[in-house]
Amino acid sequence: MSAEDTVSDAAGAISAERFVEISYDEVIPNNVALGSDKQLQRALEGWRPKYLDWWTGMGPVGYQQSEVYLRTAVGVDPAGWAKFGYVKMPTYRWGILLAPKVEGRTIPFGRHKGEPAWQEVPGEHRALLRRLIVVQGDTEPASVEQQRFLGATAPSLYDMRNLFQVNVEEGRHLWAMVYLLVKYFGKDGREEAQALLERQSGQMDNPRILGAFNESTPDWLSFFMFTFFTDRDGKMQLAALAESGFDPLSRTCRFMLTEEAHHMFVGETGVQRTIEATCAAMVKAGIKDPNEVEAVRKLGVVDLPLLQRKLNFHASVTRDLFGSEISSNAAEVFGAGIKGRFNEANLKGDDHVLQDATYPVMRVVDGKLVAEDAPALRALNSRLLDDFIVDCQGGIDRWNKSVEKAGIDFKFVQPHKGFNRRIGEFGGKRISPTGEVLTDDQWNAKSGDWLPNEDDMAFIVSLMKPCHEPGKYASWIAPPRVGVNSQAGDFEYVKIA
């Protein structure tokens, strides 16, 4: 040991070091110095009871008193944001966490490119910014509402836990957006925060803002497809907002992206495990042809053509969320430095202002699909959609590897960009999954092959039997390769009360 003879610290210093954990006294875990901002604290503490009312009234049906093995974020450093433990959902600690501030950050794009990022809302862009935050915020509680009945038919406790993890994190994302509204938009912001709890998914009088968020998520296959495709739209939007010149929005979205990754995971592996169960059952039964639908369904697994139809549906519906391919609104938010492109700060090869640039946009002209160069600024939605399609393809390729590994001759493909669209260049056009422009008659004759039909839905519903024994899985889905937080296979992820 050291030759130096040593003196010791005062005893007080020793005991003090043990108590460096996050303070549990605060109702809302946060890294935004909430404690020193009494006005903001009161506004949020006032909103919180209404939020909890919403959660118990419109959140998951049942299981609210069950102990669920959830991940809670109590800080934004790697050690702080993944605390695992059993929690009853209504007591989940929804917090406000922003990614660490990058000193000297400048606005990476648009007219204000190179100027210091805004720490306060710039007056000229106030209305635009508020609208964007409200639209993003509205999707968060909407998806919780859409998924509220799924717990009862969970194919395993593991999946049930993942569902509830997604739900509480969507809840936290709502908190994140509400923080921005309340902190930076005064009275308007507080009213918008209130309205976020009042709109309801699928309700006729006061629906959620975006169409796809008013569809119900009736079964687990839909849930997995939704988290794969629709939450990926959320990821793309958050990534674009993470580039924002409004620094608090950028930091909020950057941290949300780390949680969004879990939702991508639930979707991708949910479908993957469904495929694995199907392939394993087919191999075991000696079925080579994926089109022997009846025989495959008898095995209690989902046939691959049906999965392709589900894929077609969710991919196409989600693509509508990107809005019109050509949009002057998108040009304005980009020009104003509010919402960038996917990965904006790392994009090479252009000036990030795009004043004279063009971007090829696909559209239907005289019954034919053509790609036409459009002003890049007005084509930003189209570009984000293209980035989304590329991002989806990675996961689909991995699904196909599973099928290939099992020796089954089948390949999942994304439908053509124009397939089954209601919004944008292809809205109302009839386009096949392979990209042929069709007449209404041609479409009507074939659409049942391309989109889930009534038989499909009835079959899926028949499979949705709960499996609530630790370590057991419903017939149609394979167990995960790795447990949550590396837990063992028979871990009891939900202790059902």
């Binding site: 003196v7 005893a11 450093d77």
Partner: protein, 426 residues
């Protein structure tokens, strides 16, 4: 703690079959070791400092994969980009298992083929199922990455204030105790954390050398209490596994430093290999060679606390392996510690005329004393040294627990969950 071209490293890899390419790890990595192409996310073994910051945030568990590799054969980024699945573990022969410096703990390593795909009859023994990625509950809160490629300041200059040899003279085991002072620059470290050393100069291709990581050997209040300094335990690397001359760039740079020289430092690193601080908490330390650095730090902190008379520590046990006693760092000072303060057990694999003894052999001999500690929630286990010792040590813990009727299926995973078993191997 240095890996030269010839040493075996613990290479961090991402399982491409499980990874969903969400970018969380890349955005989390404090040193920029993770990158991706359109196909895979990969870890650059030249940059990764095993700080584990990426492990808890990964939503899939794909991040938590490790392969023992000779450094010169470490999988390149380019190779990893081409993978559809992780490669098999190398066999001991492929690793050059007979080589001297790696021999300290190889005996109990099982056939790595069995861990490949679970196809073996016995389920693969996965050390990582028991290795904690979170610190003890009473750990002090560490500062990490104050200086580094992603921090506001890339590195900080420290002044060498001491450089002494801590092994007896001999050509193939020259270990130094080096003290670095940070002057007025903040550099708060805890026992078990490590720091990066940026060697001057460039390699044959004209690129700056990669930083190398060393565990601090001094306690939190300084090598000299109340001073802003840290100490390192550095073994001079002079030959590779085949005995051919091969000079470790950073270790030779460090061992040759004179008092007054300046060194560029990054860090601190490490968020989980941290000691418990609550009264009566026990610490079991298992190490080989320069893996003794963090053990020396923890022991010294407990010694200073004990001397203050105001802290009641728990049992300290040290299992320390080396080829011979001559090359054991700190052999002299260790012998001077009171027996009622620390229970020291040496294992020498190359004492002439004696059978080879490895740390896990000595642990088994002390099973009767270790079993109550495995059962005690206030006892924490730390393993530091060559990667090859890892499995043998954990298997020894398993067997000791099982023989004591503790039920390893319950106790083992709890060691991980409660932050009680920490591995740092290279």
């Amino acid at each position: 703690m240095e890996a030269t071209q010839a040493e075996v490293i613990r290479q961090h890899l991402i399982d491409p079959e499980i990874c969903i390419r969400c970018n969380t790890c890349e955005s989390t990595c404090p040193v920029g070791a993770i990158t991706h192409d359109s196909r895979n996310y990969v870890v650059d073994a030249n940059i990764c400092n095993l700080c584990m910051a990426c492990v808890p945030p990964c939503p899939t568990g794909s991040i938590d994969n490790w392969r023992q590799m000779p450094r010169r054969q470490a999988y390149s980024i380019k190779a990893q980009f081409g993978w559809d699945a992780l490669p098999a573990e190398l066999s001991l022969d492929e690793l050059g298992g007979s080589d001297a410096s790696n021999e300290a703990a190889l005996t109990s390593a099982r056939s790595p083929q069995a861990t490949l795909d679970g196809a073996g009859e016995e389920a693969a023994f996965e050390v990582k199922a028991y290795a904690a990625v979170i610190p003890p509950w009473s750990a002090a809160s560490p500062y990490a990455n104050l200086y580094g490629p992603k921090a506001a300041t890339r590195s900080v200059a420290a002044t060498v204030v001491g450089n002494v040899r801590v092994t007896e003279a001999g050509k193939d085991y020259d270990t130094h105790h080096i003290v670095l002072d940070f002057g007025a620059m903040p550099f708060p470290v805890l026992e078990g954390q490590s720091i990066g050393i940026l060697p001057p100069g460039v390699d044959a291709d004209g690129r700056a050398h990669h930083p190398r990581q060393y565990s601090v050997a001094s306690p939190r209040n300084g090598e000299r209490p109340g001073y802003n300094n840290v100490s390192l335990t550095v073994k001079r690397v002079l030959e590779d596994h085949q005995g051919r001359p091969a000079r470790g760039i950073v270790s030779n740079y460090l061992c040759n430093l004179n008092v007054g020289d300046k060194v560029e430092v990054t860090g601190p690193f490490g968020m989980s290999f941290l000691m418990p601080n609550h009264p009566k908490s026990a610490i079991v330390m298992i190490c080989t060679g320069t893996g003794s650095a963090p053990m020396r730090a923890m022991t010294e902190w407990r010694r200073r606390l004990r001397k203050s008379g105001k802290f009641e520590g728990g049992k300290l046990m040290l299992f320390f392996g080396a080829r011979t006693k001559e090359e054991l760092p700190y052999f002299g000072p260790l012998g001077n510690l009171p027996k009622d303060f620390i229970d020291i057990n040496f294992a020498f694999s190359r004492t002439p005329g004696q059978p080879k003894r490895y740390v896990q052999d000595v642990m088994r001999e002390r099973g009767a004393d270790l079993a109550p500690l495995i059962a005690d929630p206030h006892a924490y286990f730390y393993v530091c040294g060559l990667k090859a010792m890892e499995e043998g040590v954990v298997l020894a813990l398993r067997d000791i627990a099982s023989q004591a009727g503790l039920g390893w299926e319950t106790v083992g995973p709890a060691l991980k969950r409660h932050g009680r078993l920490h591995l740092e191997t290279y």
